[in-house]
């Protein structure tokens, strides 16, 4: 571990997804200094990996990339990527955070993002940005529009052939780089730590993680993205263009038995969106959504759902009891239609997407004394009028850190958190 470096800012934002970036831009524009800390090698959060957004079907990357560029070039916003917050302590002057900046094994100030290291590396690995569907090298820039455009070397998979170091025109590969300890003093904290999706294995009867053609909703996003892993929607077992795709709703929410009794709010709409995009990209394929009830809660969502029906997406009100596969890895669903007189039946699809729910990404809040709700999301102290307020003065929250929500609500709440933080900075003389 290298020596401590110290930084001082007005607001420390944990997380640089769409909520973190929006809050950083708003606080920066108000004249205060911001530091964002991001655990991944790039800012952008989950939104940068999405294909399009509902209900407008705007390109997600076209919304996120300008925010990424704006926040990385903002004169009052600094970002530490590939960095983990170890702990945060409340002090008389505000807060003190300890950050560990993980080594990329690249001298950041020297790298010119030429990608020669990536091209020369002979080691192919599963790409976590593609949620396991694509391939990356042992040293690689995380994705095309990553910010910063800096490669990361996966030390655990590197075979030390030194091909990357030999081709680097700036000699900036440093195999001996160590983690760096950073101390940040801040007057306010914004928790924008986001969400994780329910594990694929949460409902064992659905075969997630075991049946190859049962994929996650985020994998489906990548398949639909213009720069997706295969360049086309293909099923993972054999690269077939699927003729029939099914969505299983509530595959990770509204289920007491897996400890997630709440509705994750976005699953219905992202499934409808993906189904519409699939029907555009695979016009000859049949797309079916098995649901309990459709929750089209936001502005324009009901019309969006009706549009999907009109496009020929099959909506089947049914409970899916079990998912298995045949010898060709076709997926077999045992369903029970919610109709009078219906009997359990089996239906076959080429590929199945599980509409997983949303879980809090962080549950301990880095040692801060923050009240949680019963599902471990940050509890707002005034949920009706000031949703960004937490139980600790000076600590605010934005986005899905405080509960499942869609992108428009996340952005709106991030603005609210920024406003609360600015008001706090104005009112409190530290």
């Amino acid at each position: 571990m290298s020596e401590n470096k110290e930084f001082v800012c007005d607001s420390l934002i944990i997380g640089s997804g769409i909520a973190g970036m929006q809050a950083a831009l708003d606080i920066g524009d108000a004249g205060y200094n911001v530091i964002m800390v991001e655990k991944s090698p790039s800012i952008g959060g989950k939104m940068i990996s999405l294909s399009k957004v509902f209900p407008t079907l705007d390109c997600a990357s076209c919304i996120t990339t300008p925010k990424m560029a704006a926040s990385s070039h903002h004169p009052r916003v600094k970002a530490f990527t590939y960095s983990e917050v170890e702990k945060i302590e409340k002090t008389n002057e505000g807060f003190e955070a300890e950050i560990i900046k993980k080594p990329r094994f690249v001298i950041e100030s020297e790298c010119i993002s030429c990608k020669k290291c990536e091209e020369s590396c002979p080691v192919h690995l599963e790409d976590e940005f593609e949620f396991g569907l694509g391939v990356k090298k042992a040293i690689s820039i995380p994705f095309t529009n990553a910010i910063p455009q800096l490669p990361v070397l996966d030390e655990s998979k590197c075979i030390r052939c030194a091909a990357c170091a030999r081709v680097c025109p700036k000699d900036c590969i440093d195999y001996l780089q160590k983690p760096e300890k950073i101390k940040i003093k801040a007057k306010t904290i914004i928790l924008a730590t986001g969400y994780e999706i329910t594990p694929m294995t949460a409902k064992k009867e659905y075969g997630g993680g075991r049946l190859i053609n049962v994929i996650s909703s985020l994998q489906a996003e990548r398949l639909l993205a213009p720069h997706g892993p295969y360049g086309k929607v293909l099923r993972p077992s054999d690269g077939k263009i699927p003729d029939s795709i099914a969505y299983v709703q509530c595959a990770g929410s509204r289920d007491e038995s897996i400890g997630i009794p709440y509705c994750s709010r976005v699953c219905c709409m992202y499934a409808v969106k993906q189904a519409m995009l699939l029907s555009g990209s695979l016009p000859l394929s049949e797309i079916t959504i098995y649901y309990m009830d459709i929750r089209a809660f936001g502005k324009g969502y009901e019309q969006f759902y009706n549009q999907a029906r009109a496009m020929g997406i099959n909506f089947v009100k049914a409970k899916v009891a079990k998912i298995t596969e045949d010898q060709e890895h076709n997926v077999i669903l045992r369903i029970d239609k919610q109709e009078e007189g219906s009997v359990p039946m089996e239906v076959k699809h080429d590929m199945v997407v599980l509409s997983q729910g949303l879980l809090p990404s962080n549950k301990n809040f880095f040692g801060l004394n923050i009240e949680k709700n019963e599902y471990d999301f940050v509890a707002s102290s005034k949920p009706d009028f000031s949703p960004a307020l937490t139980s600790t003065e000076g600590v605010f929250t934005a986005g899905t850190a405080c509960g499942p929500k869609d992108i428009p609500d996340t952005i709106m709440e991030a603005g609210s958190a920024a406003m609360e933080a600015v008001n706090y900075l104005k009112s409190v003389k530290i």
């Binding site: 075979i159 030390r160 030194a162 030999r166 440093d174 001996l176 054999d238 690269g239």
Partner: protein, 93 residues
């Protein structure tokens, strides 16, 4: 150039001393992966083929062929030929 190579060799030496040599499992996995990659690339050198065709020719599992060909396409060693139904075809560049 000589200085550069010397510096790299010194770093690798220090790394080996610090963390021990690269494990045999990792090297074997990498070797096997390279051999699979070569098999797939050889299979599409002359003629464009679908994943099941490459799979039956190389004896590799379809899932493995898809993984290998995805890497080969991404890093510019193969291309895919678009299709509307069935399977895409792949060819070495």
């Amino acid at each position: 150039m000589q200085d550069k190579n010397k510096k790299i060799a010194e770093q690798i030496k220090q790394l080996n001393a610090l963390k021990g040599p690269v494990s045999k499992e990792l090297l074997d996995y990498h070797k096997e992966n390279m051999s699979k990659q070569k098999k797939v690339l050889d299979a599409v050198k002359e003629k464009e083929k679908t994943i099941p065709e490459i799979s039956s020719e190389t004896g590799l599992d379809s899932k493995e062929v898809l993984k290998q060909i995805t890497g080969l396409v991404k890093y510019g060693k193969a291309i895919h030929i678009p299709a509307k139904t069935g399977y895409l075809k792949y060819k070495a560049k």
